[in-house]
């Protein structure tokens, strides 16, 4: 694997981290496997594209994508998921229905063409790193992924909200019994997780481009990350993203047509020994 390919893997892993960290936050705390997460990613990408091209600002595109997708997440959580609380299977299948509706809705609104979010002037071109000339934007994605990891780490370990989330992951009932409004913590987490999907959509939309089946593809990768990393663990998502990102790049280099298969093998071996993932804990 050359340096160039290694960087490809790392930058893809960073994007996966942005998307999958939102997924695992929701999965870990609310026990909701949000299969609409891929659709939220796609929506974030389209809305980000729309805002970014209209205003000419990538940052505004990001803010718009995150706000819009968080709003969709709010509607999903308060409008639909509240009816099936506490039943894992019904929650999952419900979000799957939502994913179908959102995907079709995106097709109606934006059509089947593929879009590429415009990269801001500052991040165009390339930089020389480790002896290769590499696109600046993808390095920016890598840095964003690392910054986000640090930010989430600080949020979870050094703030009151983070302490509540961690406590909620371990035992939501106990937290509620100690006088905390756990519902509100749940909602904030759901919004944060959704917003991260939206941010991922904008970032991914600029180098993977956006098209109708992009949501399913990113969802599979996120699932693989969470299955490998384990439920609700930030370090797990980080390690899972790195593994999936690097393996996927390796697969594309070695067996271009069977790249999907290359993330499948290690996942299989891992599951044989740790059914709950690398950092997952039984509850």
């Amino acid at each position: 694997m050359s340096v160039f390919q290694l960087l490809n893997g790392l930058t893809f892993a960073a994007l996966l981290f942005v998307v999958a960290s939102g997924f695992t936050l929701i999965f870990g705390l609310l026990r909701i496997v949000n299969l609409a997460h891929g659709a939220l990613y796609l929506f974030g990408g389209y809305i980000g594209y729309f805002v970014a091209t209209r205003t000419g600002s990538f940052v505004l595109g990001g803010v718009g994508a995150m706000a819009a997708v968080a709003a969709v997440g709010f509607a999903l959580d308060q409008g639909l998921l509240r009816f099936v609380r506490g039943n894992e299977l019904r929650q999952v299948l419900l979000t799957l229905g939502v994913a179908f509706v959102l995907n079709d809705l995106a097709l109606v609104i934006w059509g089947g063409d593929s879009f590429t979010v415009p990269i801001p002037q500052m991040l165009r071109g390339g930089l020389r790193v480790f002896g290769v000339f590499y696109p600046t934007y993808r390095l920016f994605v890598l840095v964003t992924g690392i910054v986000l990891f640090a930010a989430l780490w600080l949020l979870l370990n050094n703030t009151r909200l983070g302490a509540l989330i961690r406590a909620g992951v371990d035992d939501a009932e106990m937290v509620e019994a100690s006088g905390v409004n756990i519902r509100r913590v749940f909602l904030v987490t759901f919004l944060l997780g959704s917003a991260l999907a939206g941010l991922g959509g904008l970032m991914g939309g600029a180098f993977l481009s956006l098209y109708p089946s992009a949501d399913a593809e990113i969802l599979v990768f996120s699932l693989a990350v969470v299955i490998i990393g384990g439920r609700g663990s930030l370090v797990g998502v980080g390690v899972g993203s790195l593994l999936v990102g690097l393996l996927n790049t390796l697969g594309q280099v070695m067996f271009p047509e069977l790249a999907y298969f290359v993330i499948f093998g290690p996942m299989a071996v891992l599951l044989a020994f740790r059914p709950l993932g690398l950092f997952g804990r039984a509850t």
Partner: protein, 322 residues
């Protein structure tokens, strides 16, 4: 539907009580008479109902009787369809050989899925089967020289004998009757009862000395075998296969049919399949947004009737009694 009642007629046919066998015979005879009154198009729809009913039943073996809902059965089904179409159109095999090969391929894929999935349960099982199914979809989409990529493969799969709508319908009906009977025997066998025991309490079954992963592995593989039969029939029905046959939507439709018919009712699968396919056809007449309707149906069933249509109907009389 065919539960045994104490004190019913003592004569038995093939493990069924006399009355159950009579009902089954009447249902099959009524279904066989359908082509006499329906148009060719409607016979095609009825054939589709039978094929997807088999798929939904195979999902019910796991979902209803082993407590594990699979979101990967559309892929198992589709692998069989791919193999049958490829074997006849590209490799030039006779229909029967292609059929057998398709079912074999589906069973093998199911065995691989099962090896990975049996250690998980609940949501993890769902996620894992979903991911595995997506991998199959990704391979079918990308492996262009074999699968034809997005364009899929076309071929005259159906043998000359079964070219007319009615003849094919009767063949599928005969197949569906045999398969439904086999599945019914399977879930009522000691093995099937063990699966139910695992569904209700895995730890208790383990402590009673049952090898839980082995039972689930066999259950999954058998379920995949039946899904493969449905997929092979679908190849003959459609004469065409593309990545949408193995896509998540296929698995989801199968699960939806199983749930709509009633989880754990087995034959309810045909009711569910009929309901969903009828809905699809009605909707398609007015709008191209079938996927949205499918999604909304899913959401509504999850919120209002997770026990399915038959389960809902069953619940009505008991509510009145109270």
């Amino acid at each position: 539907m065919m539960t045994m009642r104490a004190g019913s007629i003592a004569t038995r046919f093939a493990g069924m009580t006399g009355s159950a066998a009579l009902i089954a015979a009447i249902v099959v005879a009524a279904a066989a008479a359908l082509p006499l009154v329906l148009s060719n198009y409607q016979v095609g729809l009825a054939t589709e109902v039978l094929i997807f009913g088999i798929l939904a039943m195979s999902i019910d073996i796991l979902g209803g009787f082993a407590g594990r809902t699979s979101l990967g059965h559309g892929a198992i089904f589709g692998v069989s369809t791919y193999v049958v179409v490829y074997a006849t159109a590209q490799a030039g095999l006779p229909a029967a050989a292609a059929f057998a090969l398709g079912v074999l391929a589906a069973t093998l894929i199911a065995a691989i899925f099962a090896l990975l999935a049996v250690r998980t349960s609940g949501v993890y099982f769902l996620l894992l089967t979903l991911a595995l199914g997506m991998i199959v979809w990704g391979i079918c989409l990308r492996w262009t020289q074999v699968t034809g990529g997005e364009n899929g493969i076309r071929g005259d799969v159906r043998p000359a004998l079964l070219v007319t709508h009615s003849a094919f319908y009767w063949a599928v009906l005969a197949g569906a009757a045999v398969v439904a009977y086999a599945m019914w025997r399977f879930v009522r066998s000691p093995f099937g009862l063990t699966l139910r025991g695992i569904r209700d309490s895995e730890s208790r079954m383990r402590s009673l000395g049952y090898n839980v992963p082995l039972h689930l592995f066999i259950g999954f593989t058998v379920s995949g075998f039946f899904a493969g039969i449905a997929g092979a029939l679908y190849a003959m029905f459609n004469n065409f296969v593309s990545p949408s046959t193995v896509a998540l939507a296929q698995s989801v439709e199968g699960v939806l049919m199983m749930i709509a018919g009633g989880v754990g009712t087995l034959f309810g699968a045909f009711v569910g399949a009929a309901a969903i396919i009828a809905l699809e056809n009605v909707v398609s007449a007015y709008t191209e947004r079938w996927q949205t309707v499918l999604g909304i149906t899913f959401i509504l069933i999850m919120i209002f009737a997770p026990e399915g249509i038959i389960g809902k109907l069953r619940a009505i009389p008991t509510r009145k009694v109270r």
